[in-house]
Assembly symmetry: C2
Homo-oligomer: 320 residues x 2
DNA sequence: TTGTATGCGTTATCAT
DNA sequence: ATGATAACGCATACAA
């Protein structure tokens, strides 16, 4: 009887023991499909993560940390995480391929891992009624919120650090500028420089695509300026590593000739000589916060919590 | 009508058009729970991956690559990947917490990501009747197989490379020795040395735990030998990086004083100076092969395919 | 407190 | 080729 498992307080000791005994004996296990069918709740959270290889977003090395934290936090509440295959049913519009997959499974909520492309099929989820948390994708709605790092604050941290170290000719390598985190990091960086009266001319701002090669190319471009900058803030660690390499190839030293600050604190940052000073994201916190935001919405009654921006932290290493 | 969707060839053009038209009009979507309940097939593959933070196995940086490849390959066949929360129902034995989760959901198959601990709750899955593919966990059964890299062959590659480079005083840092990949890599390495008549004394074999610090400690120990080795094979890249650091701290140079070969080809290997020569695992291949092995078992009729050992590849960089 | 019946949305079986 | 109906396993509302 389902009462014994779901509302034990309403059943007598006797029958409870009896039922539990029999259940154990025959190895009874509740069937989740039947349960979902009857209750319209599945104890599953959908994960929408487009890993299509034509899109590079999924390669970001700290997604694993976020994912593990997310999964652990959800598991602690008995929630499973369903990595959804897009619904490719022939004849149906592909705009809703994720939304359809979500709806077919009665998932209790959805987590969106953004690949930075603002795919319409992903955006369509926010219009649905299902509780929804996006990571690094700025999207809100009645049942939709998002979690990011405090990218603006992180940009400020980088600027303040370089200023404190006495730098005045400062440049930056940004992420792809339509992307939300890229814009925010640049804004914070620029604001902190402005407050300190340090100039940031337009040609000291070069944009990359988060990946190593673009950081390398951008730094080469920056090194051609005269006078060249004494410090560079790369808005992502991979780009910072590329920049580091360009500096070395130019026969210059880090941090003596040029100081470099990155963003993210991925594994390489600590391992690469001379150690990359970087603005660390709280990867575990992002995953955990996403789970919490979702849990807050699960009752169905509560409105979407405010977007959360998690604090970043400056990690000083040898590159500054 | 379900016939229109599942067996369109048995229904007339007329009614097909009619039903499809109405379905589109009212936005009909099949309910997966009901479908699963009726068919006992869920189009879901369970992922058993114990990310408990007390166990460090989940941190391995290339799991993300495997996971993405696995998910993509499954998605291409319309299969969703369910990351299962262990079933912690009070009063039930924890030995079967994963098995129970698997059974409750009617998943069509299971993929096991091993954390190296041979958790009994994980092993219990192989006794079930559900198709089952393990990664780097040597386990077979009527419905259970596994995918690994050819660790033995990889160990050989490392040894042959060092021998070709003219090294004769060679040492190795192994993984934790009960672990299957650790044993295999050592076996292959040892065999290739023996065939070439190069000795590998017992005190030239030190074991670590895959992580950086253990590689660092192991290398310090190896450097105390007299005469010290001219080449070291670290059976994992993180340990190799630790070893690299220990060499530098001892005031020695890589590769001039000591050559180092790693295993895995994680991101850092390419980024860290002077570039780490390493035995690359085919991460995408592992994920894809796991999906294929599972798909081969899905009909339910087929026996488990033979275990697959994917070829490894030597990537020569500056450290040798 | 406990038993019973109906519904959840789909598939599958049996007639038609 | 199509229509009707009984499972599938559980939750729930209603009776007892």
């Amino acid at each position: 009887m389902s009462r014994v498992f779901n509302t034990p307080e309403v059943v007598s000791q006797q029958t409870r023991q009896l039922v539990l005994g029999v259940a154990a004996e025959i190895g009874y296990l509740p069937n989740e499909s039947a349960r979902t069918l009857a209750t319209k709740k599945s104890n599953m959270v959908g994960l929408v993560w487009d890993t299509d290889h034509r899109r590079p977003g999924w390669r970001h090395p700290f997604l694993q940390d976020i994912l593990v934290a997310l999964k652990s936090a959800l598991s602690a509440h008995g929630l499973h995480l369903l990595m959804l295959a897009p619904d490719q049913s022939p004849g149906l519009d592909s705009e809703h391929r994720f939304l359809r997959a979500v709806q077919r499974h009665n998932v209790d909520g959805v987590v969106i891992i953004d690949n930075g492309s603002r795919d319409p099929a992903v955006l369509a989820l926010a219009d649905a009624e299902v509780p929804c948390v996006a990571l690094d994708l700025r999207y809100t709605g009645p049942t939709c919120t998002y979690i990011t790092s405090d990218n603006t604050g992180g940009g400020r941290l980088a600027a303040q650090h370089l200023i404190e170290r006495g730098h005045r000719r400062i440049a930056t390598i940004t992420g792809p500028l339509p992307a939300y985190p890229a814009v925010q990091r640049l804004d914070g960086f620029r604001a902190a420089l402005a407050e300190a009266g340090v100039p940031l001319p337009d040609d000291a701002v070069v944009s990359g695509d988060w990946y190593l090669d673009s950081g390398h190319a951008a730094m080469k471009q920056l090194l051609e300026r005269d006078p060249r900058p004494t410090a560079v803030f790369a808005a992502g660690d991979e780009m910072a590593v590329g920049a580091l390499r360009a500096v070395h190839q130019a026969g210059l030293r880090v941090p003596d000739d040029i100081a470099i600050v990155g963003f993210d604190d991925i594994e390489v940052a600590a391992l690469i000589p001379p150690g990359l000073t970087t603005v660390a994201q709280d990867k575990t916190g992002i995953g955990t916060s996403a789970a919490e935001a979702l849990l807050a919405m699960l009752p169905g009654t509560a409105a979407a919590p405010e977007p959360t921006a998690l604090p970043t932290k400056l990690i000083v290493r040898g590159s500054t």
